[in-house]
Each structure stands twice: as C-alpha cells, then as structure tokens.
C-alpha cells in the first residue's frame, strides 16, 4: 500500500555500501492509477500490505456499464467497472476464465487468458494463392479488437490471438 493505493513491485534493486546502511530501490506500479514510480526504502522498513487477491472467474456478459464475472465453484457473481476492465475489454470472451484482482473485495484489474479465440467479423478478402507472411491485413473481431491476420484468413473464421501482444497465433482448431 502506498499513498492509499495497492501497488505491484516491478523491480527491486538491493543497494548496500560495504560499511553502511542497506537500501532498496524499488520500481512500483500503483494498481488504481496505473502510475509507475521509483522509491527508495531503508532495508527493514515496512509498508502496509495490501489486501489484494487474484481470483479466477468466468466472464458472463456486459450490461454496458459493468462487466459481470462468476465464480464457477460458488456461483458468486462480481461486477467490474470500466476502470478495472480497461483496455482488456476487447479480449473478453463469454465463458472464458479471466484473472480478477480484488482489493478489499472489489475488482481493480481484469486480466484475460493469455490466448483467446474470437470470430472475425470483418476483413478484406485476401488475394488467392497467398499463404503465410507478407505482412497480412487488418481484421476486426467479434469483441471489437483489431488484429493483423494473414491474407488467407477470411471473415467468419475463428482465430486464436495472444492477448499479451495482440498478435494472431493461428486459426482455431475446431
């Protein structure tokens, strides 16, 4: 916890003179504002631990204002707002499992699965005979995400995408 926000430690460098006080130079991401800051602590200093918990929940639906998730074991439901879902809204697939970070029981971040399968709703018909490579073409997916796909992939097909890089992986195995 820092300035009232739960934080994630990105890097921690141990600094210690041979004869002297040890320090930790820490790079921190504030989970609410998303700000990345650097701070130096004296070794042994303590900060309040954040009551943060990652849970695996299935995505259900969006009502336009909230995105609803469900715990498949307890059937307990949780609604995340736009701030928590953020950019990842474009990777939400119904019934897919996402990692929801809860702080004091409320969702503050939504992380989709590393790979998701989505249907192409619109893309230019590619040139015949083209196989892989050559840069590809943009394709709009059912979730609204736009990714580059090879020319041979067509509207209506389901593809597998890496959500961390936003890159096309392959056609879905159906």
């Amino acid at each position: 916890m820092l300035d009232g926000e739960p934080c994630n430690i990105l890097e921690n460098e141990f600094v210690k003179p041979g004869k002297g006080q040890a320090f930790s130079r820490v790079k921190i991401r504030k989970l609410i504002s998303g700000k990345v800051i650097e701070k130096t602590f004296k070794s042994g200093d303590t900060v309040e631990g954040a009551d943060v918990l990652d849970t695996e929940l299935a995505y259900l639906y969006s009502d336009g204002e909230f995105w609803h998730f469900m715990n498949n074991d307890t059937f307990e439901q949780i609604a995340a707002d736009e701030a928590a879902v953020g950019e990842n809204v474009k990777w939400l697939v119904e019934n897919d499992t996402c990692t929801i970070t809860l702080w004091n029981g409320a969702p503050i971040a939504v992380q989709p699965a590393n790979f998701v399968e989505l249907e192409i709703t619109e893309t230019d018909p590619g040139l015949k005979g083209d196989t892989a490579g050559t840069g590809g073409k943009p394709a709009t997916l059912s979730s609204g995400a736009v990714v580059r796909v090879p020319l041979f992939v067509q509207t209506g097909e389901v593809i597998k995408v890496d959500t961390r890089s936003g890159e096309y992986v392959s056609r879905a195995q159906k």
Binding site: E13, F14, V15, K16, P17, G18, K19, G20, Q21, A22, F23, R25, K39, T40, F41, K42, S43, D45
Partner: protein
C-alpha cells in the same frame, strides 16, 4: 524450474577466467613477499557493526553438555590483525566471507574476499599498491583520487562534514527521498543514502576512483586523521558504478577500538538488534601491539564482474545462492 537448477550460474569460460585472475593475484603478492594466510571462517565472536549481519550456528563439542554459538566471519579482519600483532609481517588472504541479509545484483550471502595488510604503510601508500593490482587485472588507466568531501560538494553542493541533520534532510527531500528523510534522524544514514544514490553513479566511470577521508562518524576500524578530526583515514575504491574495496589506516589503539565496539552494541540495542559478542582476543592482540599498518578488503567477485564485463554477480560465481 527444477530442471536447470543443477547447472552453474557462471559459464565455464568465466570460471576459467576466474581461476586465471586468482593465479595472477597470488603471483602479485608472491613477488612482493606478502605471505598468504588462512584464518578461521567460524569464530566465537563477530563484528558489532550495526549494518553487518553475521550468520550463526551451533557447535556441539563431543564432551560438552551444551552447544556453543559460533559465527561465520563477515571478513577475516580480526584474525588477520591477530597475526600481525604476533609478528607475521605483511599478509594477504583470499577467502569466503559471509553476510546475512545481503543479496542482489552485486551481493551474494557468501562471497570471496581478498584482504591484505601492510605493516609500515599508511593508507596513501596502500592505495598506490591497490592501484597496481587493479591495473594488472583490469588493464585499465591508473586510478584517480578524490576526497569524500570534495565529491559530495561537487555533486550535491553541500559539505558532508559540517551539514546539520536538517540540512541533510532538506537535501534528501530535494532529491526525491522525502518520506525516507522525514523519519530519519541519523546523519550518517542520510549521508550514505545521498552518497550511494547521487554521487556514486557519477564517479570512476573511465578509470577507477579512490574516495578518501570518509567522515569520522563512519570510521569503522580506521584511525581518525591527526590533521582533521572530522575525517577518518578510510578510503573506498569505485569503478564503473561498483564499490570494489574498502581500506583503512588501521586503528592501533585498543581502548578506542573497544569503545567503538561498545558504542556499536549500544546502537544495536537501540534498534532492537542483538548485541554481538566482542572479540576479546582481537582487543587483546591490539593491546599487545598491533603494528602501524594499512589494510584493505577487496571483493574478488566484483573485480571479476569488471574484468569479464558481467552485470550480475551470479555470472562470475559457480553457484549463486539460490542454486547452492
């Protein structure tokens, strides 16, 4: 995870270079008639410095009803000075030293120390010998010499020897350490913070840099200067952002030494740390007559990091701690 942890953290090529550097160092001292010695890693007493944390273990003597606490040495200093007092003459040692609560890019809880003592030398003469050794191993330019005070003034526009606690707090706050500074009431902690974060990164980039005349409050086992009571005859060597060595014109006054150890223990108690047993054999050795001498401890692993252009200590030691 499990699969690759048996492998060394350093390459075999790096380990060959390591062996070569150690051979060169031994040759350097043989030529200068400095005797290689080997002192205990386990001792009944240990360092009292509040910033050093010794590992301890239990020794069960086969005929004793109770076990005894022994400490792994954080440096071979005390035992080597006992040899000096016993008339050894110039000595050096290459050994493992152990420091708890230290790990990172430049730290491993056990590391290899080169420590040597020169009776009849002062710290200035010793710096020149260190310079020769470093040039031989790293094939670099001769080192430059600066004082702690001059560097602090140059980079922070503040005199570290006379600045008040409040002035140091303001300076730390100005450099972005406001929260740490607000609760810190130890001048030396603030000096260490400012020096390590704001000065060290700027020094010894092109050639090694000796920083001499540390504040008297950070004297450790060094003599206080006869000409300026605000500074100690203590120096450090830096090169390319790495703190490589720490040396002293050694304190030879047993009463002063004992009182510094007792002061350390009081400071430990204040911070809720355990008092450490003072090495009475060491005090007795100084009392019986530690010759005027200068001594230095140099981190071999860090020297190798510089020689092999590695940026992590694990790249120059066979098995860093998590694989040990």
């Amino acid at each position: 995870m499990q699969s690759n942890n048996w492998r060394p953290s350093a390459s075999i090529a790096a380990l060959k270079q390591r062996a070569l550097v150690l051979r060169k160092i031994r040759h350097f001292f043989a030529e200068r008639d400095v005797l290689e010695v080997d002192t205990p890693a386990l001792s009944h007493a240990t360092v009292t410095d509040e910033h050093l944390h010794s590992f301890s273990t239990q020794f069960q003597h086969p005929f004793a009803p109770q076990s005894q606490t022994l400490y792994l040495q954080t440096s071979p200093e005390f035992a080597m000075k006992r040899l000096l007092s016993a008339g050894s003459g110039a000595i050096y040692q290459i050994c493992k030293s152990f420091r708890n609560e230290e790990t990172g890019r430049f730290h491993n809880p056990e590391f290899t120390m080169l420590e040597w003592y020169r009776p009849g030398f002062n710290h200035v003469q010793l710096m020149s010998e260190i310079d020769d050794l470093i040039q031989m191993v790293l094939e670099c330019e001769p080192a430059e010499k600066k004082t702690y005070q001059a560097l602090f003034k140059q980079h922070l526009n503040c005199d570290p020897l006379t600045a008040t606690l409040d002035e140091l707090k303001t300076l730390a706050k100005h450099h972005g350490y406001g929260e740490l500074a607000a609760e810190e009431n130890n001048r030396d902690t603030l000096l260490m913070l400012l020096f390590s974060q704001q000065v060290e990164p700027h020094i010894g980039q092109d050639r090694p840099c000796f920083v001499a005349d540390f504040p008297a409050s950070q004297a450790a086992l060094a003599q206080i200067s006869a000409t300026n009571p605000l500074v100690a005859e203590r120096f450090e060597l830096y090169f390319q952002g790495i703190e490589l060595a720490n040396g002293f014109h050694e304190l030879t006054d047993s009463v002063e030494q004992l009182s510094r150890f007792e002061r350390d223990n009081k400071q430990r108690q204040k911070r809720g740390l355990d008092r450490m047993p003072i090495d009475q054999n060491f005090i007795a050795a100084i009392e019986s007559g530690l010759p005027e001498c200068a001594g230095v401890a140099l981190g071999i692993d860090r020297l190798l990091m510089l020689a092999l252009k590695c940026n992590k200590i694990e790249q120059v030691i066979a098995f860093e701690n998590s694989r040990a």
